[in-house]
Symmetry: C2
Subunit: 199 residues, 2 copies
């Protein structure tokens, strides 16, 4: 026995959400149907609106329903700094530090020959034009510290090299609040090589 | 900084799903927008359809988009047995043991003065008529082994007592304090086989 066809389809459709297996999908579907139809209706409507209206900022490529995102529209940001990240979530994480006031460029991914993701998918032409045309003096490469992220950073670095502007990356090292014994060897090596004066 | 207004609303709307906090909601929203718009569209459509079409079986009250559920329509089920459960998920859990072939009645909750849930909310009038009118010879009270479930079982037992039919309960073996839908099939099977007189 299963649930009725429509309920089974509903549970199956919920599986498109990351981290949702058969068990959670069942719990979610029954919760909405038994106890929160109001919340379910609101979700259905907003989900539809978001899919219809959310596209990408024409300047930085982050997700937004507006032609240009808030940061790109702001007159208070430092126009000489551009930070290159893989995803909108990475952009948010950097914004939440509160110490960066420049602009962003969102690749929406990383180079990956296996997944068939090449330079054209990451908007690198747009990135190049932007750096060529604009007032940008420094590009911070803040891709993920993974093999694909590093490869992508190196590729972008090569792309920008002829322009002669400053290209930097996030510092590598031991994360704050971690225990040294659980930090992986590669990170520890980088932290040792990049050690600074104790002050 | 936050995401754009529509994306923030989308994340907020996802919080209606059980077990989804701010962090998962962000991950889900960005995943759908960045990587699975197809899945998102399907979910929006099915969610809407499910909310519009899924109601309750007119005989057993389980969730279904059909007037009567598959079990109630079946001519192969034992018409002399009726199993009373709290939720559609409990009904599925019992079905999956494969050893019960009677009918069900789904209370869609349990008695709870605190939450303002009384006998009328659990369809107990319908249950009484059904047992009075039908060919039912035994009612198995399979409410959850919780305080509310036990209270509900006792109430139903009192309600059915004047009819003089056999009223049983699941055998011990169902762990106390747990929720029926999470009990493993083997334990449930033993509890069904070992069911005893309700007292
Ligand atoms: Zn932007
Ligand atoms: Zn039914």
């Amino acid at each position: 026995m299963q649930f009725s066809p429509l309920i089974e389809q509903f549970m199956e459709a919920l599986r498109c959400l990351p981290g949702v297996g058969p068990r959670s999908a069942q719990r979610m579907a029954l919760h909405l149907l038994e106890r929160d139809r109001e919340g379910g209706r609101r979700l259905a409507q907003i989900l539809q609106e978001a899919l219809d209206q959310v596209g990408h900022c024409r300047r930085c490529r982050t997700l937004t329903e507006e032609p240009e995102c808030r940061i790109c529209r702001s007159s208070k940001r430092n126009e000489h700094m551009l930070c290159v990240v893989e995803t909108p979530a990475d952009m948010l994480a950097l914004e939440q530090t509160g110490i960066y006031d420049g602009h962003y460029f969102v690749l929406l991914g990383h180079l990956s020959p296996i997944e068939g993701i090449g330079p054209e998918d990451l908007g690198l032409d747009d990135l190049l034009s932007r750096v060529q045309d604009g007032a940008i003096e420094e590009v911070i490469l803040a891709t993920n510290p993974t093999a694909e992220g590093e490869t992508t950073a190196h590729y972008v670095h090569e792309l920008l090299r002829p322009l002669g502007i400053r290209v930097t990356r996030l510092a590598h090292g031991v994360p704050l609040g971690g225990e040294l014994e659980y930090v992986d060897g590669g990170t520890l090596s980088r932290a040792l090589v990049g050690r600074g004066q104790f002050d």
